[in-house]
């Protein structure tokens, strides 16, 4: 480990790895640090990603793909199953990844591009000078190292502390923290090419149960519950155990995964002097689906591109880095996050009768143009009572968000 780099990346997930790779390809000296001894483990993810979205970045390697998903099923509280076929499922048609392999390959790519990688190395505090970040103190093997960097990337995930130490409040409100548990199960009878989503206040209050196939008879079976709905005896693990007992009594659990996904608005600002915040640390996971792989890749890459311009010109002030913040907010990602936040705010308030009515009505719709705006309009038209309940303000927000 050297004492000085152009770029220090804190965190070796997809966002950090892609940022490191981007900077390294442009010829900058990069140090990527990961606090854990191995990249990609333990997994904290349901591992689903939209096909088209992933293809924006690369042609996926075969070993990353656990399953190809052709359709999605949404199961209403009353058990009614709505099938979303490819032309209707949008970007939900995709892959279920092996994150252990995927994450490691991304770091491998960053290393191949020239980045230095240090594992079991934890940033314990930023180096601050006149309010600007100048690198970090890193702990490795019981020794502290002062590492200076012209630009630091906070890619430290959902449990992000680095930006907080730099003065950015990253606290997630309890009700906007989706608390999750998942089993990797085998020996279960599933459609290996369909994802399933179970909604309802008995199954998963303020969230959903997912079944994401990872091959024949094998799947991630998990649940996310709104943080404010989580209580002793009714924690995600309890809901999950009940679900598994009734749906897959003979299935075998070969891995337990716990996790948290923020479903809040993104951080109000994702840059500071000599600092850029990417991925889950920036709170850019999707508030409706909980997905965060695409957002991490997108913000990681963009941070690399905008940050490199700043480095080129010897100016990495927050003002100079601001195009990063502005660009992602105006991108497909930023717009989808805003829209899905509004939908999520409505979704978490629905009672089971509303959910049943909505899902039944959508299944009956014959929409040639199945986009989200059309979907919402049709839902409102078919469910005047639900629409009434959501109130004028809620509906206006929802419509305005498209």
């Amino acid at each position: 480990m050297k004492r000085e780099y152009d770029v220090l990346v804190v965190g070796g997930g997809p966002g950090g790895a892609y940022a490191a790779k981007t900077f390294a390809e442009k010829g900058y000296s990069v140090l990527l640090t990961e606090k854990r001894p191995a990249i990609g483990v333990p997994v904290r993810c349901a591992e689903g990603v939209g096909k088209k979205l992933l293809h924006e970045f690369f042609k996926p390697e075969d070993q990353w793909i656990a399953a190809e998903i052709e359709k999605a099923n949404i199961i209403a509280p009353d058990g009614f199953k709505m099938e979303l076929e490819p032309e209707r499922a949008g970007s939900e048609v995709g892959y279920v990844l092996h994150r252990k392999i995927f994450d490691r390959d991304l770091v491998w790519q960053a290393a191949g591009a020239g980045a230095e990688v240090q594992v079991k190395t934890r940033a314990v505090s930023p180096l601050m000078e006149n309010g600007a970040v100048k690198g970090a103190i890193l702990e490795q093997n019981g020794t502290s190292h002062e590492v200076r960097a012209r630009l630091t990337i906070a890619a430290d995930g959902v449990e992000s502390k680095f930006s907080r130490w730099c003065g950015v409040d990253t606290t997630v409100p309890l009700r906007e923290m989706e608390t999750c548990a998942q089993y990797l199960m085998t020996g279960i009878d599933i459609d290996p090419h369909a994802t399933e989503f179970f909604v309802g206040n008995d199954v998963a209050p303020g969230g959903y149960v997912w079944i994401f196939p990872k091959g024949e008879k094998t799947a991630n079976v998990g649940i996310g519950v709104g943080g404010d709905r989580c209580k002793p005896g009714n924690r995600p693990i309890d809901y999950l155990n009940r679900f598994v007992k009734s749906h897959f009594p003979n299935g075998k659990t070969i891995e337990l995964i716990a996790g948290g996904v923020s479903i809040c608005q993104p951080l109000p600002c994702t840059v500071a002097d000599n600092l850029m915040i990417v991925g889950d640390a920036a709170r850019v996971s999707d508030p409706l689906t909980g997905g965060g792989i695409y957002a991490a890749l997108y913000t990681g890459k963009l941070a690399g591109e905008v940050g490199a311009k700043g480095l080129d010109q010897g100016d990495t002030s927050s003002q100079k880095l601001m195009p990063y913040d502005k660009t992602w907010r105006e991108s497909y990602l930023g717009k989808a996050l805003e829209r899905n936040y509004q939908i999520k705010e409505v979704f978490v308030k629905l009672i089971d009768d509303d959910l049943n009515a909505i899902i039944h009505s959508v299944a009956k719709m014959n929409m040639s143009d199945f986009n989200t705006l059309n979907l919402i309009k049709n839902i409102i038209a078919a469910n005047p009572k639900v629409a009434l309940k959501l109130g004028k303000a809620g509906l206006k927000n929802l419509i305005d968000s498209f």
Binding site: E159, L174, G227, I257
Partner: protein
């Protein structure tokens, strides 16, 4: 005082992100609580997916 039941905790970091005081930290694969900073608000206890945290009087 918040107590971590290490035999239950699966080190996911859910609690860390809701802590308003920044008193929790996920160090590698264990949870560290700064008892000087912790205000015993109990948000971490509530949000834990596995029930690994306990507020002790």
């Amino acid at each position: 005082m918040i107590e971590v039941h290490r035999e239950i905790c699966a080190y996911c970091g859910c609690c860390v992100s809701v802590c308003p005081e920044g008193a929790l930290e996920l160090v590698d694969a264990y949870l560290d609580i700064d008892t000087n900073t912790c205000i015993n608000c109990g948000l971490c206890v509530r949000v834990c997916p596995l029930g690994a945290l306990e507020a002790k009087k």
